[in-house]
Point group: none
Chain length 217, copies 4
DNA sequence: AATGAATGAGGCTTCATTCAT
DNA sequence: TATGAATGAAGCCTCATTCAT
């Protein structure tokens, strides 16, 4: 059985175990079992369980970083288009690097502390900052009307996307793109109309009282 | 030295440790240390680490369930007002039961398997179903125009809220209410305008091309 | 509730717990629960779990010792009669001190090491020696014809009695006396006819071959 | 250093520790120390302390069961011969599986509750029933004359054998066989003459009175 | 590269025991 | 006397990690 290297299999198995049980509950024995080797043998490929987590997470993380830089370089598109791209990109990465990308998301805190991930150390912050800046730019350009601080809105928007780990599974390129654009539309509606809605909300009646919402769609 | 039971202290300490390190990384020794007792002493109050998790989580979980039932009973308000109440309610619970409510959210899967939590077993599903139904009702009444299936939109909306565990800390009743209403406005914008945005998105240019978004705010 | 002292209740409860679970599995909490007090309260009555075992066991042990001395003093009866008395005595003690006497038997090894039980330290050996001597005396007097060394026969006979902890429960004075005498008869048969039987056994056919045992009953 | 699995050593060590201290007092540390490994290492071979007990006990238990079935199949021998075989068999197993067989006997209650020992669940009862039936058969055929109910006599006889755990150590095949046959002779005497002895006992004088036992040997 | 076996640290849990009230 | 609470030691068990083969 010429198996030049089981590294890819191990990586895959680790990703699945980490996804299924979480990093702390996953065991090297379980990962080995998926591949058909004993736990000790894994150390022929990687130095520690933590390194294995990093290895699993590295590819989606690099992909994300690369895409982010690519998006940042696009100064010619409108804010909305760039946001659409951002969301499409995230969904694409979730899909392409499934389930590793979700492992990354779930254990972001752990990963980000590794010296080896110096480059990612502040990526999360940069990511948030980028979204925030994008929103602010939208406000400045008049495209957006936010219901609150850009930082808060950015967090809410990113949360919507990151929470996908709890319900998303890839369904094909087309369907995933469709989904991304629906999410984009949902977000965009809030970003564009949020300001008005905030004003409107102030005039809404308290709960428990029948009323008709006088909003023109 | 009056020692009227350290149970509340233990519960608090456990909530903090679980929040800080996660259930699996938290140790009884650490929890005991916060209170100033040895790990073994904790067993005077609770039968196992898992029971401790359940105890920490029980109050916010019950609060959530109670509020949910209260909201479900309100048939007189408009869909928008009910959604506003839902979001306010969540933020209020996050705030009142901080950080226990986030422990609950983070370890929902674990908690929900306990026999003791039989009543909560399907709460999560019911919660999602309730939000979904609310959105569908809004569509039927013409209040909402969603960019996709109600289920998907419900998930995205709930995700926005649940992700708050990664950035929210209570800042006082007033500020929290303000935040809740901003989140509501953000969501409402997407729910009302999402359908149009979806149509609009189709006509947006691809990335990398300068354009002006022709949207009237 | 005037409870001048719960010591007797505790002793009883301890005996039951020790009998039911064995000394090492019994817990002070369980004993306390039977009485309706907490485990810590037991230390108002006794210094340690081990002392509690000794206390439980002391009365049957002293009774046994006393009876043994009484029997030893009887030089006027025949060997058979003295053996009958020995067996009756044991059964009576098992019955009167039930279940404490069985706790004693089960944990003899533990008990006998206690300094406080110096007097009992070698009682077990003396007991065996007494039985052995009785049998030897029977041989010398011609009453008995043993199938082997007196020591071995003594051990077998005592084993028959001590094993009663696994099946005996008191059924009233009369029935217990009846039982004792049946056991005595069984033993006596072996002691009287054992020698002949040993000879006979030599001439028995091997197993698996049909034969008729030519023994006149 | 060839290390062809230490499982046998562990099994042996466990048997000795269980024999010496009893299951509940034995520690994995002690067992490991006998083998020269740490307690944790034992879990490379077995899943729990209880499983270790079962493993220790399994072989003698299976041996006993097999022998019992073998004996049950022998319908051609006389009752006495079959009883002789039963006793020889027991002694042989005590000797061959020393000390594991005694561990089995001592912790029968514990062992028999294991799902893994479903087949042995009722063995103990069957064993008693078999002895009882054998005795009853002897009565019916006129070979035996018991001093009481077959059940009681069976219990006493079995007790004689099972109590051997407190004094027996193997002394070689020949000596053990000799011992078995002496025990058999002792038992047989009681079984054959027990009835007469019971009658005789009624007419014996009370203790404390000199008398001559008028029994022809 | 894989195995079998061992290590060692650490965590959960139990429980006899102590002690202030 | 009884309680509630705490201690401390010890035991079982898990698991990442190491290593000779």
């Amino acid at each position: 059985m010429p198996r030049p290297s089981r590294w890819p299999e191990i990586l895959l198995a680790a990703g699945q175990e980490f996804r299924e049980h979480g990093y702390e509950n996953a065991t090297l024995e379980g990962i080995g079992a998926r591949v058909g080797i004993l736990k000790g043998s894994i150390y022929n490929y990687v130095g520690s369980k933590e390194e294995l987590l990093l290895a699993v997470v590295e590819q989606p993380a690099r992909a994300l970083l690369a895409e982010l830089e690519r998006l940042g370089a696009d100064t010619s598109s409108s804010v909305s288009v760039r946001l659409r791209e951002l969301i499409r990109m995230q969904v694409r990465i979730f899909s392409e690097w499934y389930p590793a990308a979700f492992v990354y998301l779930r254990h972001l805190g752990h990963v980000v502390q590794s010296p080896r991930f110096a480059e990612f150390r502040e990526m999360d912050g940069q990511y948030m900052a980028a979204v925030e800046a994008l929103l602010a730019e939208g406000v400045a350009s008049g495209e957006f009307s936010l219901p609150g601080e850009p930082r808060m809105v950015a967090r809410a928007t990113v949360g919507m996307l990151d929470w996908m780990q709890h319900w998303f599974t890839p369904r094909g390129e087309e369907a995933d793109l469709e989904l991304a654009d629906e999410l984009f539309a949902l977000a965009l509606g809030g970003l564009i109309a949020g300001g008005s809605m905030r004003a409107l909300a102030r005039s809404m009646p308290p709960a428990g009282v029948q009323t008709t919402l006088a909003v023109a769609p």
